[in-house]
């Protein structure tokens, strides 16, 4: 048992903090949220130069052989700057799947260009009716000739509007809710039959609805075994949840630190409002929740790659619940303590508030994680 960052990880954190402060402060995000893409390929390439896109990829695949903890360290800093580049969609979700399931040729074709910062990826799993159920899938892939033909619709695809390649969950067998019969395909962002509808999000980032109308792919675009993708899909979504805990922690910390600073400087009744005990106690409670969000993020990042599925699921669900409940406590009170100025767009607090709320709804919300937690085997035991 050990909670210390290694010297290397400490360096990654310092480097990421400096990078965000110098290269991508919140003001940069403010400009980009007005643009069509919402992020910049040049910055993506710079992030690749830092080694971040390959950090958790095994060395034998050309990565740095780090762990999810390394990703979480970077994500927390990116969260502080609201950096809009598709780190979760591309490096965490799609990159993780390609690393786990891709063969040499597939990694060469799609993983390597991404970790070099030349392309970006996306992972399309959710559908209108699926809510958070990872096995609920109506999109189908039918065998045709030597390959497959995909039809269906995916929603809220992170970076779906800009990705060069998109990993799509499609059903090759079974019916709507079956865990068996799910497969993963890599489709080209410009594939014939693919319509991408850009969706602006509350948080100022972009997602997409993807309409697949007979998109044809070769057999070499099937990842892993046909019909057996469910555990990999669950794992990817859990990695997404752990990533949300890490990025969200960055926003929780920003909101908290900015609120405490404001309590010290804002005066009413001739004194700083932070001298009022009613507000001090709210700030103290916020501090407790920040600390628990931090512990929860550590827990999630340690467990993200745990091969014991039940342990991974239980701890990641616990962590995501803490982000949802504790994070909400911090964000709602941050706005309340700022008062009217807190709901103006010119203040950054509202931007953190929005991003945090989006993260709470991604990769399973609080209710979904509570429901999953109580369905796990370990919950039955009374010791």
């Amino acid at each position: 048992m050990n909670f210390d960052l290694t010297e290397e990880q400490q360096m990654i954190m310092d480097q990421a903090a400096k990078f965000v402060a110098n290269e991508s402060p919140v003001s940069r995000f403010r400009q980009l949220r007005e643009t069509e893409r919402g992020w910049e390929p040049e910055m993506w390439a710079k992030m690749a130069e830092q080694g971040w896109l390959a950090i958790a990829i095994p060395e034998e695949q050309g990565g740095f052989g780090g762990s999810f903890v390394d990703l979480a360290i970077i994500l927390e800093q990116l969260g502080r700057g609201l950096v809009p580049e598709p780190f979760i969609a591309s490096a965490v979700l799609a990159g993780g799947i390609l690393s786990d399931l891709g063969d040499d040729a597939q990694r060469e074709a799609w993983l390597n260009p991404m970790i070099e910062g030349r392309t970006s990826l996306a992972f399309a799993y959710a559908e209108t009716q699926s809510r958070y159920n990872p096995s609920d899938c109506l999109t189908r892939a039918e065998k045709s000739g030597g390959g497959w033909t995909l039809s269906g619709e995916k929603v809220w695809v992170l970076n779906g509007h800009a990705a060069d390649q998109i990993i799509v969950v499609a059903r090759t067998g079974g019916s709507q809710l079956d865990e068996a019969g799910l497969s993963l395909f890599v489709i080209d962002g410009e594939a014939k039959g693919l319509t991408r509808i850009r969706v602006p999000g509350m948080d100022g980032q972009r997602t997409a609805v993807l309409r697949l109308d007979g998109v044809e792919v070769g057999a070499d675009r099937l990842l892993g075994r046909e019909g057996e993708a469910f555990p990999s899909i669950e794992k990817a979504i859990d990695r997404g949840a752990a990533a949300a805990c890490a990025e969200g922690l960055g926003q929780v910390r920003e909101l908290f630190e900015r609120t405490v600073a404001y309590l010290k400087e804002r005066e009413q009744f001739g004194v700083p409002i932070g001298s009022f005990q009613a507000l001090q106690h709210v700030a103290s409670d916020m501090y407790s929740e920040v600390e628990l969000c931090s512990s929860a993020s550590i827990l999630a990042s340690i467990q993200a790659d745990n091969p014991d599925e039940d342990t991974r699921k239980a701890d990641i669900s616990a962590a995501k619940l803490q982000l949802a409940d504790g994070g909400w406590f911090v964000q709602e009170n941050a706005i309340q303590l700022f008062g009217g100025i807190g709901i103006t767009d010119e203040q950054d607090e509202g931007l953190f508030f929005k991003r945090l709320r989006v993260l709470n709804g991604l990769f399973g919300d609080a209710d979904w994680h509570v429901a999953r937690f109580q369905s796990l085997k370990g919950f039955e035991a009374i010791d």
Binding site: V260, L263, S275, Q277, H281, A283, A318, A319, V370
Partner: protein
């Protein structure tokens, strides 16, 4: 970062588990199954069993008779004690004044007191609060006047938990009457039974048990040699002691026990043709508390790991006190909810109405209102965080 246990640590867990199963007497096991409602004598019986095994002081260094375990072993040991529903030992000697003496006591004090804390021959209690010094603890008035080699104590302490079972009391008393209130306080050790002028009178709590006492001092003589730390340096001692107590203060083990208890009740409580534990709504209520506990556990482990590296305890223990005791209360409220109409029962309800394993739930539920009050009320903890950690201006 890594949460896993080494094979040696897993083996240690097996060793602890099988030892507890073997060492716990049959009647104690029965009471453990019945919601871990132990009499004082049973707690002390378990104390002695642990002492003979050498496991009574997991937090003490080996040279003073502790186990010298690292954080991982200590947490494994605690998890296994919770799992077996073993009695919780009195913290006043083992977790509070003992570690303080190890840190600040004289050699004579260590030699005189530590072995008997370990063996359980001498039981301790804490004399901090007074009728007019609750949250404003520094306002305490129990006065200690020098007379030859002694102090003469006059005044009153209150909320002295389990003083009726204690042989010794550690008290904060006033030795300085000028300047800041905090700078005139000393930390003394008093022999309850062999000092003339100390009187203990327990209160009946709303839990139906005698937990707290009032303790009076009338010209009670305490040798100056029984002072820990310098004269008028008692406030620093009190703070240092709180640092040692930080593991226990959040009630993590108690919340874990409470969750086992609520599952047990739900599994045995019939609702129509199934049980309450089959009710998805109720399962989710339990799940939420268990998930919250997980985040608090990790926070606690991080603090313990930091302590092991020698970092001084900070206001983080206030966080643990607040979130831990809130959860402890919520879990006990959930136990009451699980019982449904059985929650009307009380300690002496007949078995036909109230199964024995549910008998103590309502008492616990009432008593646990104290958790957010004792050890520095949660509001005081918030003041500490606001002042020392957030550095917010004072009013």
């Amino acid at each position: 970062m890594d949460l896993s246990y080494t094979p040696e640590q897993e083996q240690f867990r097996e060793e602890v588990r099988s030892w507890i199963a073997e060492a716990m007497p049959a009647t104690m096991k029965k009471h453990a199954e019945d919601g871990a409602n132990f009499e004082h004598a049973e707690v002390m019986e378990w104390h002695k069993i642990l002492y003979e095994k050498g496991w009574v002081a997991p937090n003490w260094p080996a040279e003073y008779g502790g186990t010298g375990w690292d954080v991982a072993r200590r947490s494994i040991f605690q998890e296994e004690c919770v799992r077996a529903n073993a009695p919780s030992l009195s913290p006043f000697g083992l977790s509070m004044v003992g570690p303080l003496m190890i840190q600040y006591g004289t050699d004579e004090q260590k030699k005189r007191f530590l072995p008997k804390i370990l063996s359980g021959e001498e039981i301790w209690c804490q004399g901090y609060s007074e009728p007019n010094a609750g949250s404003d603890l520094a306002n305490l008035q129990l006065r200690a006047d020098k007379d030859g080699d002694d102090y003469i104590l006059n005044g009153q302490k209150t909320w002295t938990t389990y003083a009726q079972y204690a042989d010794w009391i550690f008290v904060l008393c006033r030795t300085g009457f000028e300047g800041k209130k905090q700078e005139g306080i000393s930390f003394l050790l008093a022999d309850i039974h062999n000092t003339e002028g100390i009187e203990v009178k327990p209160f009946l709590t709303t839990g139906g048990t005698l937990a707290f006492s009032e303790t009076w001092f009338k010209n009670a003589r305490v040798p100056q040699a029984n002072r820990v730390g310098p004269e008028n340096g008692g406030w620093a001692m009190a703070k240092a002691l709180l640092g040692h107590e930080r593991t226990g203060i959040g009630g993590i083990a108690e919340s874990a026990r409470g969750l086992m208890q609520v599952k047990q009740i739900a599994q045995r409580t019939a609702v129509g043709n199934s049980t309450l534990f089959d009710d998805p709504d109720f399962r989710r209520r339990i799940a939420r508390k268990e998930m919250r506990l997980r985040a608090i556990e990790i926070f606690n482990l991080r603090q313990l790991a930091a302590a092991q590296l020698g970092h001084a305890p900070g206001a983080e223990s206030s966080v643990l006190k607040i979130v831990g005791t809130e959860l402890q209360q919520e879990v006990s409220e959930l136990c009451m909810d699980a019982m449904g109409h059985n929650a009307m029962g009380w300690l002496d309800s007949p078995e036909e109405a109230l199964p024995s394993y549910q008998q103590a739930v309502a008492s616990q539920f009432n008593y646990l209102r104290a958790a957010t009050i004792y050890g520095g009320s949660n509001e005081i903890q918030k003041n500490i965080i606001a002042k020392h950690l957030l550095r917010l201006p004072s009013a």
